[in-house]
């Protein structure tokens, strides 16, 4: 077993034992935001050492040249992964041998690119150096030279003619112009506006056909067999772990770049030694998925003195968005990523727990029961270092039960000193838990500001004469059109 160095963890045993629940990934839309591979990596939150190490890696990859190198390495490892999967499921020896040539060719490209990447941050430089050493070994150099020759032979066997008559198939290596090509040439000749379309498929041939191709090209296939017997021992499929690990950096940086184009700010939070979660102007990145052009940021402040808040306000006012901003940025911080905020200092909490409304998952139980089961699961896992985010929990029952259950849950969380936020529509709660609310501008047709604050919006009135209302006064028209009106 090769011991390829991780680019996510400084030591293997620093990986957290309890991953984030899949619900957290889905509730916060992390999977949709950065893809399955990267979100898989994010399920394992880091301690302070790895947070700082990853922050250093991200900072290095902000350099375009380095990002380009990482993207190139990722492309090669993805290719290795794809070919590895085909290689593992090859249907005959001839196919396996040919596939191994192709797989090893991609593997060598990966190793050489990784060796020349010249990364400097601790996690990435360890990776670069490892492959730099590997690629300079004579064994690798010989294998690389051999694979270049063998791979060229794959090109020689790529075109075969099928002559199909009744139940027989004859394979030949000739080639004639196809009808489709002729038709497209006619279209060009007639200057017709035609989009050329060719099939987009990938079909695994059966062993007998491969055997037929082998008979057409015997020397090439015997070269593949020889290559396999010499070099198969040099390949270990554990290399494929880099597919997820590189996807993590690349996907996160991709979303950061996309968000920056929408004027979203990013920062590397400082790792706080005291339990707190403080952010200035934090954004909900998932809004990018909705193509929101203007995302309203909000402050977050959870401290030991006030670790838990209710969040209330009008529908569509931005409560869930706020909660998601809190959760997403925390997950990103705990994975060592830059977060979408202006500035932040955050304690390395042990995990994030979310409880969002789920509509279609529980066919055997009622919704209320499902909510309780999910809550019990959270409490069974969450220690005192986790952050709990509740979104309209207990909104699926009668008002009386909802009020009682909400009150009990909130008091339990508060008494245990848990950090978190609880969105609720229950206004009659008798509790000393502080509240946040979304601000509505009542003076502007109840416009949603998407701002969250402890204060409530103030009423104001609107007045204007009809012409001013429609911007038809002399001054308004003059200013709008840049003309001097009499």
């Amino acid at each position: 077993m090769m011991n390829y160095p991780s680019i996510l963890f400084s030591q293997m045993n620093t990986k957290s034992t309890t991953p984030l629940m899949q619900d957290v990934i889905e509730d916060l839309k992390l999977d949709k935001l950065i893809g399955d591979k990267a979100s898989r990596c994010m399920r394992y939150v880091c301690g302070k050492t790895d947070i700082l190490a990853r922050q250093a890696a991200f900072k290095e990859l902000e350099d375009r040249k380095k990002a380009k190198a990482a993207a190139c390495i990722y492309e090669y490892i993805s290719d290795v992964c794809k070919k590895n999967s085909l290689y593992c499921s090859s249907s005959c020896v001839d196919e396996r041998n040919a596939l191994f040539v192709s797989l090893f060719y991609s593997y060598c490209k990966f190793v050489k690119e990784a060796a020349s990447s010249g990364f400097e941050s601790p996690l990435l430089s360890r990776f670069s150096k490892y492959f730099s050493v590997l690629s300079s070994e004579k064994e690798f150099i010989d294998a690389d030279a051999a694979v270049q020759k063998a791979y060229a032979l794959l090109g020689e066997i790529s075109g075969v003619s099928f002559n199909i008559l009744n139940e027989s198939l004859t394979l030949t290596d000739g080639h004639k112009k196809s009808y489709a090509e002729k038709l497209y040439e006619c279209a060009d000749e007639l200057e017709l506006d035609v989009t050329k379309r060719y099939g987009n498929f990938s079909y695994a041939l059966t062993p007998k056909i491969i055997e037929g191709i082998k008979k057409l090209y015997p020397s090439q296939f015997s070269a593949f067999a020889e290559f396999y017997s010499r070099f198969s021992g040099m390949y270990n499929e554990s290399i494929t772990k880099y597919d997820d690990e590189l996807a993590f950096y690349i996907s996160v940086l991709g979303i950061v770049e996309k968000a920056k184009a929408l004027s979203v700010l990013f920062t590397y939070p400082s790792v706080s030694d005291k339990k707190e979660y403080i952010c200035r102007n934090a954004y909900d990145l998932s809004l990018i998925l909705k193509n929101e052009k203007s995302i309203v940021p909000n402050d977050i402040s959870l401290t030991a003195d006030e670790p838990f808040f209710f969040l209330t306000g009008a529908n569509g006012g931005g409560k869930t968005t706020y909660l998601r901003a809190v959760g997403l940025n925390l997950c990103m911080f705990l994975s060592g990523c830059p977060i979408s905020a202006e500035a932040a200092q955050i304690y390395p909490f042990s995990g994030v727990f979310t409880h969002f409304p789920h509509d279609e998952r529980f066919e055997d139980t009622g919704r209320f029961l499902d909510e309780q089961i999910r809550l019990d699961k959270i409490f069974s896992i969450a220690d005192n270092d986790g952050v709990i985010l509740l979104n309209e929990t207990f909104s699926t029952t009668t008002e009386e039960i909802a009020l009682r259950s909400t009150q009990a849950l909130a008091e339990k969380l508060q008494s245990e000193g848990k950090f978190g936020i609880y969105i609720t529509h229950q206004h009659a709660l008798a509790t000393n838990i502080p509240s946040l609310s979304v601000i509505i501008d009542e003076s502007d047709s109840n416009r949603r500001t998407y701002k969250v604050s402890r204060s409530k919006g103030k009423k104001s009135s609107f007045a204007g004469d009809i012409l001013r209302k429609y911007a038809l006064t002399r001054e308004q028209l003059g200013e709008r059109f840049g003309v001097c009106l009499k």
Binding site: S161, L171, S178, L192, T206
Partner: protein
Amino acid sequence: MKYSLLYKDLSGQTQPLSEFDKLFYDLSVDKAVSEFCPFPKRAAYFIDVLKCPVSSVDDIVFRQDILKDFLKSGKLLSDMKLIFNRYDSIRSDWNQLRQNVFPAAASGGYSSLLEYTYSQMQVTATFTRTIISYLRSFLSVLEEAELNSEGLKNIRDYCRTMTDNKAFDEIYTIASLFQYHTPEQFRFILHTHTDDTLRLIGSELTDITDKDTLHSAGIIKRIFASKKEKDISVALGDTESDDALFALNEALRSTADALFAVTSAVYELFFGISNEFMFYDAAVSYIRFLEQKSVSYVFPKMLEQYEDCFYAKELRDLILCCESTHKGEDIVPNDIAMGKGDRGILIRGSNGSGKTVFLRSVALAQIFAQAGLPVCADEAHISIRTLICAHFSSAEEEFREGDIAGRFEGEVQQIAAIVDKLKPHSLIFFNETFQTTSYDEGTDAIYTILSLLEGLGIQFIFVTHLTNLFGILSNEVRLMETDTGINRYKLREASIQ
């Protein structure tokens, strides 16, 4: 590329302007059109074309010339209508047949998929040959007539070039290969491509020969006799048979896709023209109607936008022409001359003296001219307008009874909507605007709007009872009034007392 009889270049085509709905209602365009074009679908299309004013002189001349060709030869118009109507209906037949093929593939498996693909290919091949034949018919109809218009000559010349080209014949020949039989009756040769993982990623048909031909020519014998030493025969079991069927299906599909793409590209060149004949049909009816009513008409000389010109001699109102009791000579014509540097015309007069009729006659002439149609006048020079807009004060009942502020606000809303669209070289018509508030307030408000129009280089014609405006604007715009005496309905220069 796509041919059109309405647009020299289809990139200049626009959607009917929604703001014209109200304008056309105020001008009673639908009423006028229904007089000379009693067919609702044709009339609606004609009105839709009117709602897309053409913005270049070339495009208007393009339409005028085509209309003149059709006026000269009624046979050309009827022959082309017939053949292009049939041509446009091909698409629905084609789609219908393609849909009918689908159930054959329901049984699943590669062999039924192959049957489905081959049937699709046959349907497309049939239409390829049909469409190619139509182009030959277009050419024959157009070659029979003496053409002067660029639009019709372009179609004729293109059809001639296409049908003379060998590539056109080759498409026809390839389509003919798939006319008959089923896949089992052919020998196929495919060229396949594999990638660096030995996956089949491409398959193209390079030869298709029916077995009868092979037998009769003794080709089979020769194939096997001449089989190269290197050729490898593979006995097809069930799984290998799937490989061969898959490759064959993909090869046929690729050929069918190419044939479909080429056929569609040819078809699209002329598809949709049959609708455009509705416009020319209605236009010819319009002209015949004017002739019947002895109303003189003229194809206006169109000028560029920057000329800001509307000049017409003996201009008559089309709506009056359409009223059955009127003949051309019963309608009082008016002259109008508005050119570069003129801000606009202010018109006053007693009720029922013809102010609105005049306004309407100018607006209709501008709209018809910009659609490439003749106008009811002895002579006309009209420049293209970037925007034709009107505000007609609405009837009282559209607003809340007794709510003066509400009615005024409604007018302000409409003016604000016009202001949002203003562009230099527009022509704006106002009919009794802002008379729903006090005269002083109304005068002040409209004066601001008229000042804005001046600042933006936009001309207007304004019918109003806000007589203070005449004094305020006496040195800036042309003032006119209707004659109530012996020359009733005639407009004359107004004087300020």
